[in-house]
Amino acid sequence: MELAEIEALVSKIKQDIECCECLKDLVDVKNEQLGKKSTFFSVALEGLNQMIRTAPIEEKKKLGALINKFKTDVLDCYNKKEIVLKEKLELEKLKEEEIDISLPGNDYSAGSKNPLFVIRDEIIKFFTSLGYDVYAGPEVENDHYNFELLNTPKDHPARDMQDSFYIDERTLLRTHTSPVQARTMLKNPNTPIKMIAPGKTYRRDDDDLTHSHQFMQIECLVVDEGINLAHLKSTLEKFMHHIFGMKRTIKFVPSYFPFTEPSFEVNVSCANCHGKGCNMCKGTGYIEVLGAGMVHPNVLRMCGYDDTRFSGFAFGVGVERLAMLRYGIDDIRRFYQNDVRFLKQFKEEFRK
């Protein structure tokens, strides 16, 4: 066989390999043309081997190198093609595994808190970060704590303001969270206190858009030497800004509670008109949010404190009211209906 013929054969094999479109074709080429009995081995390489045997010494070396070159050429070509085809096959297989990436993800979303808990939890977080303790008190309460210790003796006119659910002559469902003030003070008289008390409260009100016989309140009490009105003011300002945002202004209006003197109603500028007056705030520019004041010396005295040394401030805020104002909820009964479509709208907001 002539060298030229062999060269032609090699290049044909390489071409056949290149032409393979799949691994099966490649295997066929391998079997037909690269096997021991294939033309490549039986004809071409055998031919070359014979040529080596008959060739002069100086030619032998050359021909040997040529054989190796042909071999590696073909094998290289084969291996490269095999990698390409394997990759192609893999891609085809993955293509088949393709999914619709627009379908929804698995359901890992958290449930929602009732907005009352969202606000309550937020307030607890705010005050605990300021070093306040959080206390609870009983909902079925002795009227001694609910009224008497809060400077509201029997037949005090203020008792008309809060018609209560009585259980017996001396026991009632607490009408506010303020009894927790008295309970806390009595525990360690004449020691400083910084506390809040969130909880459920009850009044004999018919349920309607703005009234609920059950509602949630948060009480705050600070007692120490030298506590004054400025402390109340700065605390409430920070608190209101935290709940409603820095843009809102706060106004204190004189008011009355038996257990504080002086007493104030705290108003926050209307979110809608920012104090100018609109329908939402009935033209006043401000919306009533909570009641506050300096603890009445009678309360301090009755709870075992020396009122010449200690003074304090206190406030109580309705959580429903805060939630209604913040989210624009118009019907207080919504909170207690717990419609899932309502609940799902509320969660913690990340605000500064």
């Binding site: 958290a110 449930g111 005050f127 002795n142 037949d155 004054n228 003011k233 204190f252 008011s255 003197e261």
Partner: protein, 801 residues
């Protein structure tokens, strides 16, 4: 409370100050004015006289009137439907363009006639019919013959030119129920002068009354006799002044009583002198008898009710209502007027018990000024002389145990500045006290403040600090932050644990609810497993049966919420609530968690879902125990053995921690679903008593060595009789596995074809291991064989080939 602008301006000089300013300033000073509105409206009214009356053809009640509106306008046609039209009557006409409360009056064509206005009734001017006589309600206003034709200041002429403030008085400001005191507030706020009204009463007869009080509940009692009064209608100015305050005019004598009360805050009582057996009125509070009040009803008088008696016959239930026997009526000639003070708690008690709450009783309940009987009775006499042509006025017979001493409060400037965080100067504070008519003696920064009798709200230095802050305003409070202390604030341990449980459930997609604590009687008995044998707290006076008891279990409430949601088209949802429940004694409470699962849990939208079931609940339970670091081995379950048909008997359990029942869980009893409108939906319920769970003591966490040697996993397929529990299988495996069993995991559960009835097939993987060495096959084989033997011997379990 309604307050007349006109009366205030009679009492204090408010010239140049608008009602809006009055409202704003009062609010700033702690007297809430919610709004103001004119008593009557009509901006284009005129007084006219009817000159002709013709029937309108085609109408059965309309008349065409020719009315004379004076020289400027002349005679015009007005159509009127009132029954009391007649020639010569002077009337009020609303001219075209006039705005009335009901709308604008325009020139109108009626039955072919042009009507140039409308003859007005009081109602059309805005006076509510409750203040009007029957004739006045039906017809147009009939003016007197001397009414000036052509007068356009008609509201003023009618004494209707007033503005009414709506005031909500706080209990501490009840002294402002007296308009004189209210005016004094305005005088102090605006720094204006009170108007003087001085008069002398000439006492021309002697008062021979014997008066006295045998009870401390009536510390002061005074009587004045007035003779020869003429009972008749009040003049229009008084009538409409009373209307402005919300009172209907009755006659001059009754109206004088109300007017004096409005002015002074002191309720009066009037006796018909000629109906009293004797001129003796003694106050007692130890009577028990029947009493006929002037409303003609009988009342049972009890010990403690304050009675004004004449020879032990009750003439008046003090502060509440007089007796019928001596009531003043239109025929009365001679009267005795009482001005007394009664202890507020007694009046509150009596008026509430007898359901006789009136303006008078309300004022006594809020507290009255005990030091003004003379002024009150002088004013009453003056009005009787002026408005009832009284001829004779007696001196005042009075009893009083009240010390005639004003309250004096010692306060220092530094106290006020410290409490209010202000930097006020002494002069500023003194100026405020001066405006409020306080008398002050100073000694350095110390002030001895004597307050007027009517300021019954002022008792202590802190009360004076309030007077200062409401007058200087909040803007004067300094900026000062609460000094922060090194105190780690925070919630209680229990609350902290509850928060973790809430977060766990929220993160699993459950929604947190809040429901009413008060429930109806039936709900107390539903799902009552954890509170069995405990009494529910019952309200004495519930508003409705729906909210009559404090609940002892949460599940009934939460199930109602679930039902509400399901019937409002919500599907596949999970709810929970954490709340305290209370039993019949104060402070006996328990903290509860309830879970209600409805429908299916969505794992991947609706493509992959899982029915809510008993196992969902058990999963939450185990996760909660895990959060609390309570080892799973510490709780036990028992099938719920109940005849109540609330839980599915085969899919429910009681949960125990030691001997304590701490919870129930399970799927709802199928028949109960329709009671809550759940259709065929899966519903799973759990209630846990957290109080016990939260108190469980757990050992602190400590590191345990992780197995360094390889473990071996072997699967077993078991054929199990249906009444053999997985827990018992697991126990047998653990006990018989040569201490090599590290874990048992079920991976297939099959029931049905190819299996004998009453049997199921269970496939499990057992993990074998040894913390000290690598296991060899032989050891595992021996353990496995013993497990198989024990399963067969102890539980009759066969291996599946």
């Amino acid at each position: 409370m309604q307050v007349s602008d006109k009366l205030l301006r009679e009492l204090v000089n408010l010239e140049g100050i608008s009602p809006q300013e009055i409202k704003d300033k009062l609010c700033e000073h702690g007297i809430e004015v919610t709004g103001f509105a004119p008593l009557a409206e009509g901006d284009k009214l005129i007084i006219a006289q009817i000159e002709e009356v013709q029937n309108v053809e085609g109408s059965d009640h309309l008349h065409l009137l020719k009315v004379n509106e004076g020289q400027e306008i002349g005679v015009v046609d007005v159509i009127c439907g009132a029954p009391n039209v007649r020639i010569g009557l002077k009337v009020v006409v609303a001219r075209p363009g006039c705005n009335l409360k009901g709308g604008k009056i325009n020139e109108a064509k009626i039955f072919g006639h042009t009507s140039l206005g409308m003859c007005c009734s009081y109602q059309e001017l805005g006076i509510h019919h409750k203040y009007l006589s029957e004739e006045e309600s039906k017809g147009i206003i009939e003016l007197s013959d001397d009414a000036p034709i052509g007068e356009t200041e008609v509201l003023k002429y009618l004494h209707l030119d007033d503005i009414i403030y709506d005031v909500e008085l706080l209990p501490s400001r009840s002294y402002c129920l007296s308009m004189i005191n209210f005016a004094k507030e305005l005088a102090a706020i605006f720094e204006r002068e009170m108007k003087e009204f001085k008069f002398d009463i000439e006492e021309n007869i002697k008062n021979d009354f014997e008066v006295g009080s045998l009870t401390s509940a009536c510390p002061q009692f005074a009587i004045r006799v007035i003779k020869d009064v003429e009972v008749k209608p009040s003049p229009a100015w008084l009538r409409f002044l009373l209307v402005a305050f919300g009172y209907r005019s009755i006659n001059n004598i009754v109206d004088i009583g109300n007017f004096v009360m409005i002015l002074t805050g002191q309720p009066l009582h009037m006796y018909d002198l000629d109906k009293l057996a004797r001129h003796s009125l003694i106050v007692k509070d130890d009577l028990k008898k029947d009493f006929v009040a002037l409303d003609e009803n009988h009342y049972e008088i009890e010990n403690g009710d304050i009675c004004i008696t004449c020879d032990d016959e009750i003439m008046c239930l003090g502060g509440v209502m007089g007796a019928l026997t001596c009531a003043v009526d239109e025929n009365s000639k001679n009267i005795a007027i009482e001005s007394a003070s009664f202890y507020h708690a007694r009046i509150r008690h009596t008026s509430r018990r007898l359901n006789l709450v009136s303006e008078s009783s309300m004022r006594f309940v809020k507290g009255t000024n005990m030091h003004q009987a003379h002024e009150v009775l002088d004013l009453s006499a003056k009005l009787c002389l002026d408005l009832a042509n009284a001829k004779e006025v007696s001196n005042i017979a009075s009893y009083s145990s009240v010390e005639e001493k004003k309250t004096t409060i010692e306060v220092s400037l530094s106290y006020i500045n410290q409490r209010l965080a202000t930097s006020l100067r002494l002069e500023e504070v003194l100026a405020i006290f001066n405006r409020l008519e306080f008398e002050v003696k100073t000694s350095g920064e110390k002030m001895l403040v004597t307050v007027p009798f009517y300021r019954i709200d002022l008792k202590e230095p802190c009360d004076l600090s309030e007077e200062v802050i409401r007058f200087v305003g909040f803007a004067r409070v300094n900026e000062e932050n609460l000094r922060s202390e090194e105190h780690p604030g925070g919630v209680s341990l229990e609350e902290n644990k509850i928060d973790y449980i809430r977060s766990l459930l929220l993160n699993h997609g459950l929604n947190e609810c809040i429901t009413y604590s008060l429930v109806n009687e039936k709900d107390i008995l539903k799902f009552n497993y954890l509170s069995e044998g405990k009494e529910a707290v019952k309200l004495l006076h519930p508003l409705t049966d729906k909210h009559a008891y404090f609940r002892t279990n949460l599940l009934p409430s939460l199930l109602e919420v679930a039902s509400y949601n399901y019937t409002h088209q919500n599907r596949d949802f999970a709810l929970f609530e954490v709340s305290d429940v209370y039993f019949d004694k104060v402070e006996e409470k328990s903290s509860r968690l309830a879970i209600v699962l409805v429908g299916r849990e969505h794992l991947h939208s609706a493509l992959e879902v899982r029915d809510y079931s008993y196992y969902s609940l058990k999963g939450y339970l185990e996760a909660i125990l895990n959060v609390l670091n309570i080892d799973q081995s510490r709780y036990a379950i028992k099938r719920l053995d109940s005849t109540k048909k609330e839980f599915h008997p085969g899919r429910s359990a009681e949960i125990y921690l030691g001997k304590n029942l701490i919870g129930v869980m399970g799927e709802i009893y199928p028949n109960l679903k329709k009671d809550y409108d759940f259709g065929k939906e899966n519903v799973a319920l759990m209630e846990l008593d957290l109080s016990v769970l939260l108190e469980v003591k757990v050992s602190p966490l400590a590191f345990k060595e992780i197995n360094r040697f390889p473990t071996v996993k072997r699967d077993l397929a078991l054929v199990v009789k249906d009444d053999v529990s997985y827990a018992s299988i697991r126990k047998v495996i653990k006990n018989s596995g040569h201490q090599l069993v590290m874990d048992v995991t079920p991976f297939d559960l099959y029931k049905g074809e190819h299996l004998e009835k009453g049997y199921h097939s269970l496939a499990i993987t057992i993990t074998y291991g040894d913390l000290k060495k690598t296991l060899i096959d032989e050891e595992v084989n021996r353990a496995e064989n013993d497990i198989k033997y024990a399963l067969h011997k102890e539980l009759g379990i066969e291996l599946r080939s």
